[in-house]
């Protein structure tokens, strides 16, 4: 695990130069989610790389200016990401409906570059389709579902009070949480979790003296990573637990948590 992290860290140069290929790029982007130093490095080095671009200016044909401006008129602009505001989705999952976050409505989100690039990559798909004149209502809805998850992750990772916690998972693996008390939400990821048979699944829970609420299933990921899952509406004193449950999840935990993290004040 540590060796793997170190290996990922050396990719910061190739990453900024877009000299990593698909799987490594996503591995590195996941690594950056939990590596503040990497985020700072990427930010600074990216500015340097942008200067390299400035050294290669070419004048576009004059006609392209109007053509581009006219194409822009036909493209609906994305709204800003508002911290704490999430469109309702996954409504009804064991009563864990996505709702608007309170308190922080109206403040601009600090949207870290990782998630922003993800969103931009999705935007690129849409723009390409528009350029090609493709009609794409189906594609739009898929994009918007992905964007909503990304913007939720971005809002949490970008908040000023984001803190990272890690914990060993009893049955093997490591859990990582990035939490914002201000946003009352966290992003949960895990690496190296024991593989489960199809009849079982990992489920997250918010546990408080008042009771236990289902907090979503942890989807198996690629390259030994699971998640990320966004857990919202944290209350003071909550603990986050992960249990192994019969697929596709239960309303109340039926086994002891394999990891339990106290979320602090």
């Amino acid at each position: 695990m540590r060796a793997r992290r170190a290996a990922l860290h050396t990719l910061v140069g190739p990453y900024v130069l877009d000299a990593v290929t698909g799987p490594e790029r996503s591995d590195f982007e996941r690594h950056v989610l939990t590596c503040e130093q990497c985020r700072d490095d990427v930010r600074g080095l990216r500015e340097a790389a942008a200067q390299l671009a400035a050294a290669t200016a070419l004048s576009p044909r004059p006609a392209l200016r109007e053509q581009t401006a006219r194409a822009a008129e036909r493209i609906r602009q994305l709204p800003p990401v508002v911290a704490g505001e999430l469109p309702a989705r996954r409504r009804g999952w064991r009563g864990f409906a996505a709702r608007l976050w309170p308190a922080s409505r109206g403040t601009p989100a600090t949207r870290p570059w990782v998630a922003r690039l993800a969103a931009v990559a999705l935007a690129a798909l849409a723009v390409t389709a528009i350029v090609l004149g493709v009609h794409l209502s189906v594609m739009q809805s898929r994009i918007s579902a992905l964007e909503q998850r990304d913007s939720a992750i971005a809002a949490i990772l970008g908040s000023h009070d984001a803190t990272t916690l890690t914990a060993q998972v009893r049955t093997g693996g490591m859990a990582t949480l990035v939490m914002s008390h201000r946003a009352r939400a966290l992003v949960f990821m895990a690496t190296g979790l024991r593989r489960l048979p199809a009849s079982k699944a990992y489920e997250l829970w918010l546990m408080s003296p008042a009771g236990t609420k289902a907090a979503g299933m942890l989807p198996p990921g690629q390259h030994g990573m699971s998640g990320p899952v966004v857990v919202r509406r944290l209350a003071p004193g909550d603990k986050l637990g992960l249990t192994i449950e019969p697929s596709p999840g239960t309303g109340q935990p039926t086994s002891a948590p394999v990891v339990m993290v106290a979320l602090g004040p």
């Binding site: 200016a57 576009p60 528009i130």
Partner: protein, 172 residues
């Protein structure tokens, strides 16, 4: 300026176009080579800027870095997905000449001169690793192959080269 673009101001969009389009076109055409494809990608990048401008956040970097990151990645992704293996081989063999163009080309503006000077401050291996990746669109493994050095060496030279560039250019 991007703030105005985000409100749907087309005059602001034209102003952003004027500032960014030449650098975007220059960068993508270095990677893609084909003028028609380069123009297309340049337009796509600017339209992405239009579409996503409300999502730009100046606290995580400059507008220039944001736009150029979009442009570079898009060009690289396109070249990797579309270029046939044979064409890549051909390009790879001529790469040792290509990176020299960067320092030898007549770089007129002050900014270009500054970049050229800072590139000159890198070790040969750092400069080659950085420019082959950035201007050539090669992956670090390909760069290692082209330069005949270990993959690990290329990774660290890219990072160290960028750090030196950053410090020389005074950007952060």
């Amino acid at each position: 300026m991007l703030g105005e673009v985000a409100k749907g101001d087309d005059a602001a969009f034209r102003a952003v176009y004027d500032q960014a389009a030449p650098a975007v076109l220059g960068t993508v055409s270095r990677i893609l080579r084909d003028p028609a494809q380069s123009e297309e990608v340049m337009q796509e990048v600017l339209l992405e800027v239009w579409r996503s401008s409300a999502r730009f956040d100046s606290s995580v970097g400059s507008a220039k870095a944001w736009i150029m990151t979009l442009a570079h990645r898009r060009a690289v992704d396109r070249v990797r997905s579309e270029e046939r293996a044979a064409a890549r081989e051909l390009r790879a063999t001529s790469a040792s000449i290509e990176y020299d163009e960067v320092s030898d080309a007549a770089l007129a503006s002050l900014e270009q001169e500054r970049v050229r000077r800072c590139l000159g401050g890198l070790t040969d291996l750092q400069r080659q690793a950085v420019t082959l990746a950035y201007y050539g669109g090669y992956s670090y493994r390909e760069v290692a192959q082209l330069l005949g050095v270990a993959v690990g060496t290329v990774k660290t030279r890219m990072r160290d080269g960028l750090i030196r560039l950053r410090d020389c250019l005074g950007v952060d």
